[in-house]
Symmetry: C2
Subunit: 274 residues, 2 copies
């Protein structure tokens, strides 16, 4: 049998479990594809580490996925996407490498009419300014404001995604921004943890404001790339899902089940060293 | 002038800023003492790392403090206290080494009448079981239950320590425990982040339940140790406070100000490598 890259899985890499929201969107958009996911749970969080360290860690993780065989690599982590897309493209050429920041920024530019966009993310992502740069590249006149929402990470990991606590937290983060800029019409969920809180955010911002997340738009970008490259897997056999983590399969399975919206057992998670 | 160890500062070590609640209690209990604090912000969180790694990191940090000169070492971190007190005592003998778990457990045993004690902490501390063991050593018939409260960490770091969001979060964590065991009469704040939420926790548990934190009881244990060893600093000169961190002085100053209940500027924090 000749080498058939289309049959290989899509590799997905994140510093932990957050990227499973991206994996979920990918599986929904591409039900015939196989996936190989790696969460570097032993070394998270990446958001507090230097760009050089993040690039090195991402490179090691990508090597594991490439060694196992993948046809495309998704960097399902805002921190990694902000610094490592170009270095990983250079290193693993011709493997296509897709980050989440570019598709998220594109989705925001497609959704906004006024050009006034609010980025919600971790402190590190806001401070790094990657979304703001990616949006301005596409729409130089955009008015981009960042709001760090660190509590959203804890709420998502606790699966407190409906009800009073997340709604009050969302009001506290978002209402001052909405009041300060009546022209604001688009909110970007710029952290892979946040899509599980999309419902609460939509309730708080109301009907006049669009909420976009990079998970769905990254899945759309990957789908388009498979179209262009003719790399879609044929549906003659069942697609596979392999989950790798660098530490704590029990917690990965418990929190990951929330993000992937499926049941997961610790024995479904294979531990690897980087 | 001869070597006068009593004039040296007390060394305080934590994986980040949480230990500043312990430093605050120490400064309140011992206003004449000088302090040298080190937060290993570059490598936090420790809670997800193996015991061996935590011990190695703690040993490196302790060496920095010992090299600068300290008369006593406080491990102001539950994760470190749970695994590294004995190894560090062995390595730095005769330097006195005090953790937070022992004093916290002692405070719980002093406070409880029924022996029914609830530990609130991070997931890692609860899973490690150090508080439960330390309490049972002192009171073998104690009924000890652990409740992970990961959202408390984010709330403390955001300085959301009063009002609806922390109160609802505390109710969600604590009320099921209070209802399940009417004999529960003591709650331990078993994470260095939690003392800033003590008011909210006290409101939720009501008057019949005592809330103890390891910050104040650790300060009392250190004071007693200085008494015994005759190591109190004389008050003839102003005490000093030196803050060291391994990364991100800006965030250390901002979040640390909440925990230390004082104003802090980034230039008050000296960056060191471990």
């Amino acid at each position: 049998m000749s080498y058939r890259p289309a049959s290989l899985p899509i590799g997905v890499f994140d510093s932990g479990v957050g990227g499973l929201t991206v994996l979920r969107a990918l599986r929904e958009a591409l039900p015939n594809e196989s996936f190989l996911y790696l969460g570097d749970t032993a070394r998270l969080p990446y958001g507090t580490k230097s760009a050089k360290t993040v690039e090195r860690y991402a490179s090691q993780a990508a090597q594991v996925l490439v060694d196992r065989g993948v046809k495309l690599l998704v960097l399902a982590c805002n921190t990694v996407s902000a610094v490592a897309v170009e270095p990983l493209r250079a290193r693993f050429r011709p493997l296509p490498v897709v980050g989440v920041v570019g598709p998220g920024a594109q989705a925001a530019c497609d959704a906004t009419q006024t050009g006034h966009i609010l980025i919600t993310a971790t402190e590190g992502t806001i401070r790094g300014g990657a979304y703001e740069r990616a949006i301005r590249q596409r729409r130089p006149d955009a008015v981009v404001v960042g709001q760090p929402c660190p509590l959203f990470v804890a709420l998502a990991e606790e699966d407190w995604t409906r009800g009073e606590v997340p709604e009050l937290a969302a009001r506290r983060y978002l209402e001052p921004r909405l009041e300060a800029d009546p022209q604001l019409d688009t909110v970007v969920l710029g952290c892979t943890h946040f899509p599980v809180l999309a419902g609460v955010v939509e309730t708080v911002v109301g009907e006049g404001v669009r909420v976009v997340d990079s998970a769905r738009t990254t899945a759309a970008a990957v789908s388009a790339l498979l179209d262009t490259a003719g790399l879609h897997r044929d549906a003659s056999s069942e697609p596979t899902l392999t989950l790798l983590a660098t530490d704590d399969a029990e917690r990965f399975a418990r929190v990951g089940a929330v993000f992937l919206a499926t049941s997961l057992r610790p024995e479904d998670v294979e531990l690897v060293d980087l």
